[in-house]
């Protein structure tokens, strides 16, 4: 393990119980003051609960960052014969597992928070839309709901207050777009997961056209703590505009992969080096992608950024749901942009032309560039198409899909130029741009490389330096892996 600071830089609010209680035992949750927040809320008026959440400054943790209290207030204000409160547990971002940890480690915090939210807005039915790829989270959440019902903490007349509330589960089927709230609602209604234009927002007309609140798992996990410890306590943590903490999933080329929960306003440098332990094997840090396929890459020049919603947007990235993929000197930023485009191109629902067709055209251009067939005009085309898609796509998936491209083109323009003008990949990742050659001073003529070459393009006499026929080489790298004398150069 790399040396990290022993100073306590993390504050665990959303993950306060993860690793400390048995998630399958409701008594453990009650032992840490579970369901007291609900009792407290039911003794207040709904508008007072909404006001408390507003004053705390809690903002949506799913990526949008919309003030939760304001959203609840809108739903409360809309009269209807039935309202709904939904938990978005789809967690589709590659590399994100914050919500899974909360659902597997402290499912009752979400159950309790949904009951509190239901009371605040006037909903008697809660639904958790959870991805089917999380079987353990589903099992533990189901048990939590059953146990809460046994204690009368869900169901009719909770705490003798006259408030009825229960929760049901609906399962996602693997579509990234169903993390977008209107596509999620369509999926819950049994339709194909396709977004619709907003307004009307779900808080006005959502599930079955009734006022619906959709919030992320992590947003809910904060709610019981705010009810018990107060709005002033929560708003004392974080920055002026971004209160509280955020759970991040550190992944990629970082020593201490895992979850961290830090106060808003902490610097990227502290997250990556102090808590994360820096990049392993002494490699130099290059960039960190925040916000998954919707976000941008922050580089060494951004290391002193104070992490909050606004400052990340100012740097052409976004908070997103909390995934942080770290890259080092061995990562190619063009290949990274291509990877994210490959993902979003697969996940587009196809409803709107900019996203359906635009994603494919963006991917094709990146693919061309990584294969050494790019021309300078491609960069202008990439940029103008990316901007056009951002402006015209129907939903957040399409609107943010070009972010990895725009961000890497701005910060790592030199890598794009090398791929296009020099036909070289500075990080030695894009195989089509690699040249394998044998150093005659180091080659002993053992022929191991020639034996392992799948296309037989290495020739030479025993005990004499060998050579690679560049016209036949398919850049598989087998010879490079096999050579025991380091005689094969890759560049």
């Amino acid at each position: 393990m790399a040396a990290t600071t022993t100073e306590k830089k993390q504050i665990r609010i959303a993950t306060r119980n993860c690793g400390f209680i048995d998630p399958e035992n409701i008594d453990d949750y009650i032992g840490v003051r579970g369901y007291e927040a609900l009792a407290k809320a039911l003794a207040m008026k709904p508008a007072e609960v909404v006001d408390l959440i507003k004053r705390s400054g809690l903002r949506g943790r799913g990526g949008g960052g919309f003030p939760t209290g304001v959203k609840w207030g809108i739903a409360l204000g809309n009269e209807a014969d039935q309202k709904y409160i939904v938990c978005n547990a789809d967690e589709g971002d590659p590399g994100a597992f914050m919500d899974r940890a909360v659902l597997e480690g402290d499912p009752h915090s979400v159950v309790e928070a949904m009951a509190i939210g239901g009371y605040a807005i006037g909903a008697t039915i809660g639904t958790v839309y959870i991805r089917a790829e999380y079987p353990l989270a589903i099992k533990r959440l189901k048990k939590a709901i059953d146990d809460a019902r046994s204690y009368g903490l869900l169901g009719k007349n909770i705490f003798n207050s006259g408030f009825d509330f229960d929760i049901e589960l609906k399962y996602g089927a693997g579509a990234f777009v169903c993390g977008e709230e209107t596509a999620l609602i369509a999926s819950m209604e049994g339709k194909r997961g396709e977004p619709v234009t907003k307004p009307p927002f779900p808080a006005q007309a959502g599930y079955w056209r009734k006022p619906t609140i959709v919030n992320n798992v992590e947003t809910y996990a904060n709610v019981p703590a705010i009810l018990v410890k107060g709005a002033d306590w929560f708003s004392s943590i974080g920055t002026a505009t971004s209160k509280g903490t955020k759970v991040f999933a550190l992944a990629g080329k970082i020593t201490n992969t895992g979850l961290i929960e830090v106060p808003m306003g902490i610097s990227l440098r502290e997250v990556i080096f102090d808590i994360g332990g820096g990049c392993p094997d002494g490699k130099a840090f290059k960039a960190v992608q925040t916000g998954g396929p919707s976000g941008g890459a922050l580089a060494t020049k951004d290391l002193d950024v104070a992490i909050d919603y606004e400052s990340l947007i100012a740097r052409k990235s976004m908070m997103g749901s909390g995934g942080m993929v770290v890259m080092d000197e061995t990562s190619c930023m063009v290949a990274v942009a291509k990877f994210f485009l490959d993902f979003t191109m697969d996940e587009t629902c196809g409803k709107c032309t900019p996203c359906r067709i635009g994603s494919k055209r963006l991917y094709e251009m990146l693919d061309k560039i990584t294969k050494g067939k790019g021309v300078p005009a491609d960069l202008d085309r990439l940029k103008s198409l990316a901007v056009a898609i951002k402006d015209t796509a129907l939903c957040g998936l399409g609107q943010t899909m070009p972010n990895p491209i725009l961000s890497t083109m701005e910060t790592f323009r030199n890598e794009y130029d090398a791929h296009i003008n020099d036909k070289k990949c500075p990080a030695h990742v894009c195989t089509a741009l690699l040249t394998y050659s044998i150093d005659p001073n180091k080659c002993t003529g053992c022929s191991l490389c020639a034996k392992v070459c799948p296309v037989g393009c290495i020739s030479g006499n025993r005990k004499e330096p060998h050579s690679i026929d560049q016209t036949k080489c398919i850049k598989c790298g087998s010879c490079y892996e096999k050579c025991k004398f380091g005689a094969i150069k890759k560049d």
Binding site: V32, K229, L259
Partner: protein
Amino acid sequence: MSTISSLEALKAKRQEILDKAAAKKDKVRINVSLATCSIAAGGKAAMEAMKDEIAKNNVPNVEFMQSGCMTYCYAEPTVEITLPGKDPVVFGHVNEAKARELVTAYVMKGEPVDGIIPVNYERVVL
């Protein structure tokens, strides 16, 4: 399970739970992280190995429990052991051999074992 119908009843239930926990404070508590990543890394095998070693050595007064993600994904499987009267200590990279060593060295003799993960967070307790 009977209905908890008021805040007073909830507080009473909580007190009952805390009293039960207090009665166990002379026991060794072994808390194994069992989230998806922990299980994938071998958390269940580590737990079985420890239970087996405890039984083999007839160690009395040991309670096992499971919990969710301890957030140290880089060090899974992770196990937290609380000896009576001491602070909990989290150990990482607990494979089968290490699991048995934790029982024979730390639980039985109080001797520290490699791989302690220091606490680098403040846990908010309601």
